[in-house]
Amino acid sequence: MAYQTRTGSLDAYEKGVIELDDDLRKYAFSNIFEVANASQPFERVAVVQNLEYTAEVVRSEGESGWYAAPHDEFAIVMDGEITFHFVKLEDDQVPSHEGGAVRLGAKPNGPNMGRVTARRGHQVLLPKGAAYQITSASPAVAILQTCDGPETVKRWSEICVTGKEKA
């Protein structure tokens, strides 16, 4: 039997169904492609929040600013192709806020570490101690595993099925 694996993309995704005798907001049901379609480039929109931990959806399109975090972050590319550029930070350049990515004012001065180009299904380490820039020639989508931070965008009411959408 020839199985057909279904993946989603910015252009083509099917959203599931939530039919519950409960407050749907407790389930915060969203779809990363729908979220990315409605996002500005490089907005980091939370789709998962577990107390201080988040997963954030990024629509990559063009060149982002430079980010760094006081802990490892991880990106999983879900559609398109994304290149991550890395610059090594001095110890005193590593952000010391509680958690999550912070946007730097400019490309930090420091040695280039190199770059990673990733496509659907690839997971990329965004290591503590490095700053990174996200770039894409065409729109692409990634999920960032990180912490709630200054760049985290929350618009749960807009992205989640609440049962109060117009029919």
């Binding site: 199985y3 039919e19 407790k26 990733a118 749960w156 989640c160």
Partner: protein, 330 residues
């Protein structure tokens, strides 16, 4: 929590016809025949199809009893108290409670692990692996066959930082005999391109996570892919049905990476149904702390599970300090 019993598993006897042994742990006895597992306790007893029972049992041990409640079915299961474990029968079933036949005993976690491993080892024969999908393994029905000599339990494979990093858990590979599962044969796979400047070797890292998941020969058995502090991100390859019903003691999150899973949602305490969630590729959904859930994946799919492993978190949910759902909509 009631008294913690110092009980250990004991063999009760061996059936001459089928070859299977029966066991006792505390007030529970466990017996199997060609088709069924029978659990009995002072006030009642319960029959389960043996395939369902064994698929649940090996995962319960492999996960170290996981977070919260692991229901083998609506009646029987375990609750993890991280050090001690309850074995219960009917304690979270409205009907059983009303009939007064519910029963619960608390044991040391190692005693339950040892008991479940002993039972699984005796009740599983060559040709059947409850960690595999039903279409990819034999059946456990019938009399005892040849004993399996390979490891029965392939627990959680836990990356420390991220899969594939030097010194961390290696990726699955063709070379290690881990082929792409038939259900993902159509997926185009490629490797990420890493261009590392001299002097930073080993500091940049990227993997094909989908390739790693596609090579899993087990199902409904999540393994850790990447860790941010206490945030445990697991990936797993799901086919057929989750052999347990999970009632979490905290919130958890699912990100459906490919294909679709149907989740039945019920009240955690009573088992009363609340409805269903169908998750398709790209969907994200929280599983609140006051429900139980069971997934059905008609085609093998890829799922990412996010658990918050902060110590003692279960107590903060149990006390009401934390709400049983994760997001404040403001």
């Amino acid at each position: 929590m009631s008294n913690v019993l110092e009980a250990k598993v004991a063999k009760v006897g061996t059936d001459e016809v089928t070859g299977y042994s029966s066991y006792q742990l505390g007030s529970f006895t466990f017996r199997r025949d060609e088709y069924f597992a029978h659990v009995s306790w002072p006030k009642g007893s319960h029959i389960m199809e043996v395939d369902r029972f064994l698929r649940a049992m090996v995962r319960d041990i492999g996960w170290g009893f996981f977070y919260g409640w692991i229901f083998f079915d609506d009646i029987f299961g375990t609750t993890n108290h991280y050090g001690t474990v309850d074995i219960f029968a009917g304690s979270y079933d409205r009907g059983c409670k009303e009939a007064g036949i519910d029963f619960l005993e608390t044991f040391k976690a190692e005693a339950v692990s040892e008991a479940f491993e002993t039972i699984s080892r005796d009740w599983i024969s060559e040709g059947y692996d409850p960690l595999n999908a039903p279409l990819e393994t034999g059946t456990p029905i019938g009399p005892k066959g040849k004993e399996r000599t390979d490891p029965l339990l392939r627990a959680f494979i836990a990356a420390e930082r991220m899969l594939g990093l030097e010194g961390d858990t290696p990726l699955r590979s063709e070379g290690a005999g881990q082929g792409i599962n038939r259900a993902f044969a159509d997926l185009e796979m490629s490797e990420p391109d890493i261009e590392c400047e001299p002097g930073f070797e080993g500091q940049l890292h990227a993997i094909n996570l989908f390739d790693h998941i596609a090579r899993s020969d087990v199902t409904w058995n999540p393994s850790i892919s990447a860790v941010t502090r206490a945030n445990i991100c697991c990936v797993t390859s799901e086919e057929h049905m989750l052999p347990v019903i999970h009632g979490n003691d905290r919130n958890e999150w699912f990100i459906q990476l490919t294909d679709e899973i149907h989740w039945n949602i019920a009240d955690k305490e009573s088992g009363a149904p609340r409805g269903r969630v169908v998750m398709k590729a790209g969907d994200v959904c929280a599983m609140p702390a006051d429900i139980r859930h069971q997934g059905f994946s008609p085609k093998r799919s890829m799922l990412m599970v996010m658990e918050n492993g902060t110590p003692d978190l279960e107590k903060r949910y149990a006390s009401g300090e934390l709400k049983p759902y994760p997001v404040d909509f403001g």
